[in-house]
Symmetry: C2
Subunit: 463 residues, 2 copies
């Protein structure tokens, strides 16, 4: 996938089809107030006003230099199942969440609006309009909670994961954190980690759903259920071949390594260390393996690693990193704080008007926005350009200058989802996009130390 | 529900029925290594060894005084759908995750073992054996990842939520964080928050699934889509009655409050403040409301609240707290770090033997455990007693001393799930359990400041 995307053609546009009915509805994965607002707006007619909602982050987590957008493909997948079936309507009726006219309206609900946004995997900065949802107030409002749930979690994981793959400087990172996240969040986390450069995941459902490489061989319990370590290793090698990874730290590491090479031979694929002082241990194990002639046997480490621990292991003879807790919890920033704000709506006279909340310090800038990234002559990003101005001008804006890379891509056109962004294809495209987008950042952007956003955000006001 | 539970009788025990086949399988929500271990263990026979796995936390998050167990009911619900259907087997076969004999074994898989544990909602301490899973190595091993995903996330939320409801000292806390968590994690978070004392949630799916009170009226976008605030308020009151909650901080708060009372009258249910200096603002708004004669109108606040912000508002005339990000992300501790460890397994001679991992500092104590809480003469908890010793003695141990409250309850008996812990009934029981368990803690336990575990954990070794 290149930065220059072809326009969506008919064969990549998929209308929301009735087959979606076979999957569970996503329409109640939402806040009650979306529906109570809907009822009042249907009654007074504002529900039908044309509106523009924008998703953006006010700030990055403390000290982070960039964020990584993830979840876009999952938003589009969830959209296909966002319908109110018999069960959902029955619940809303029984609990009097909304009245009869609103129930009737919901029964026919399909999102018929349009969505544009940053391509999944793209780097974002504070204020970047990462997604723009356009339609009637009613149809666009209803998506708020679900859109934010997906983007906030997935982007939190991808943003942390990108720092880890940066710190690993080419050594593979493997996502193993399923047990430290909600069981379905774990699937999304695996997907987001891969988008940000992870080489694979332990999560089988993520492997199935998004065609990701899955990894994993054995845990300590496997060694412990056997009479001794040698028996356990022999049985694992018999089942999986010498190319497997043997976990050598259940008892004594040095003895574990001896047992591993004894049993599997010098062609043993890898040993895994899941505890202790990994920096020193990796050194010792490398020497021991080499001394035993197992020079091709790799060393996988996996004990409470985060981006800082990975960076500290740069000098150790480690071949890959298994990362758990820290990646699935966003390494200290478990959500992105993205918001979904109404920025323009049709007024009484039928024209779109910018709107903004005025009180307190939460004020956001009204009006439709789009964005581009300014590159220098060497192709390095130098600033995030957020474009504002008259609605028509912003909606149709295309960068005239060669050094401005357009960031918005079409995602949904009048209810039809662009399938280049969904499923396994969507993930593959996002992996490429993230790699290209991160490579474009100024060098300092990938430092782990506390700092400012990698590039400043400026406003280009069209007239 | 009292601490003394009746034994499960036939009518509360539900076998895992074929109707579970209609729901999506949960069996691939797991790490690949559970299946590769299974294959090797099936081949060498250890798969059939009787085993005891234990779930526990090595430590509480920094400075926390207690944890709250949540997710037990969800584990049991997920267990009913943990089966390998055609689609799952096809994936495992196509990607060569396991061999043909393992696929054949998985096709017939149903968990036929037994599970005991702390009742959901119970307070736990480091080392508390909150869940004990017993069965063959194969059947118990397969549940590891899913059990941990559920308990780690749900308990992280409940542990944070309990601090918030403590800090609120009787004022209702309302869970509104769906948008800051994965869309399905949000449902679990709502459930866990309610278990820890929250009065309701904005999440409709959680309301539907667990029969929780749902709340919510309007957001800033609702005001902004209208021509002005008065029109928006009037329309909301027309749709929802004067008892509704009006969001008064879209423009100017004082004007918002005037508009609200003008439009809804003195019987206005509540106003909501979602920004600004809530301590001062609540004071001003209360005076203004009283001055307008709306003395019964309540004040709801909801701007980035956590337990500390709630405590700081104790002196403000606030009637309820809307809590978002911090509760669904565990207020700084988004996972519990619970582990699922093999503690005993059948040896060659057919008897259960304790096992433990020896290397590094991760060493856990081998052997089956159970637990009781020691109470003083006034019914205050004074210590967590973890019972170890010969397997039979621990398995059948009942506290003889009146001041020892038994903590383990039966959850699954030979594959049959005790439905007192599932669905809406399970949540209601967990709410009661948490309330009673927290009330029993020494007074200092509910302080928010950094401290040690509320009660020490001691080991009682049976002979």
């Amino acid at each position: 996938m290149s930065a220059e995307l072809p326009s969506p053609s008919d064969d990549v546009l998929t209308a929301l089809t009735p087959t979606a009915r076979m999957r569970p509805s996503t329409s109640l994965l939402t806040d009650r107030y979306e529906l109570t607002m809907l009822q009042a707006a249907l009654a007074d007619g504002t529900a039908h006003r044309h509106c523009v909602f924008e998703v953006f982050s006010r700030r990055l987590p403390h000290g982070r230099r960039y964020g990584v957008l993830a979840g876009t493909g999952r938003v589009l997948e969830a959209l296909a199942d966002f319908r109110f079936g018999e069960d959902e309507l029955e619940f809303l009726s029984r609990h009097r969440v909304v009245d009869a006219p609103t129930l009737a309206w919901l029964e026919d609900y399909r999102f018929g609006g349009s969505i544009t946004g940053y391509a999944e995997g793209e780097v974002f900065l504070p204020g970047s309009p990462v997604m723009v949802v356009e339609g009637t107030f009613a149809e666009a409002l209803l998506l708020e909670t679900l859109v934010l749930s997906v983007l906030n979690y997935d982007s939190a994981v991808a943003s942390a994961a990108s720092r880890m793959t940066s710190a690993a400087v080419g050594r593979p990172c493997l996502e193993m954190g399923s047990r430290r996240a909600h069981e379905h969040a774990a699937v999304a986390a695996a997907r987001a980690a891969v988008i940000a450069g992870f080489a694979g995941t332990s999560n089988l459902e993520a492997g199935r759903r998004y065609d990701l490489p899955t990894i994993g061989t054995a845990a300590h319990s496997y060694t412990l259920v056997h009479d001794d370590e040698r028996t356990a290793f022999a049985s694992q090698v018999a089942a999986q071949g010498a190319g497997t990874t043997l976990l050598v730290d259940t008892f004594d590491v040095a003895q574990g390594v001896r047992n591993a090479v004894d049993v599997a031979g010098r062609d043993l694929g890898a040993v895994r260390l899941d505890s202790g002082d990994l920096l020193q241990l990796a050194q010792e194990v490398r020497e021991q393996l080499d001394g035993l002639g197992a020079t091709g046997t790799r060393i996988v480490v996996s004990s409470d690693l985060d981006e800082h621990a990975i960076a500290a292991l740069a000098v150790a003879p480690v071949d890959s990193y298994g990362v758990g807790t820290s990646v699935v919890t966003g390494s200290g920033a478990p959500t992105c704080g993205m918001v979904y704000k109404l920025v323009a709506r049709e007024g009484r006279d039928g024209t779109l008007e910018p709107v903004e909340k005025a009180s307190a310090r939460k004020g956001s800038v009204g009006g439709r926005k789009c964005a581009a990234r300014r590159l220098d002559s060497e192709g390095r990003a130098v600033e995030e350009v957020v474009v504002t101005g008259p609605d028509d001008a912003v909606a149709t804006w295309t960068p005239a200058e060669a050094e401005l890379r357009r960031l918005m891509v079409p995602l949904v056109a009048h209810g039809a989802v662009d399938t280049r962004w969904t499923g396994a294809v969507g993930v593959a495209n996002a992996v490429e996009r993230h790699q290209a987008s991160r490579a474009e950042l100024p060098r300092g952007a990938r430092r782990l130390s506390v700092g400012d956003p990698a590039i400043p955000t400026t406003v280009l006001r069209l007239t």
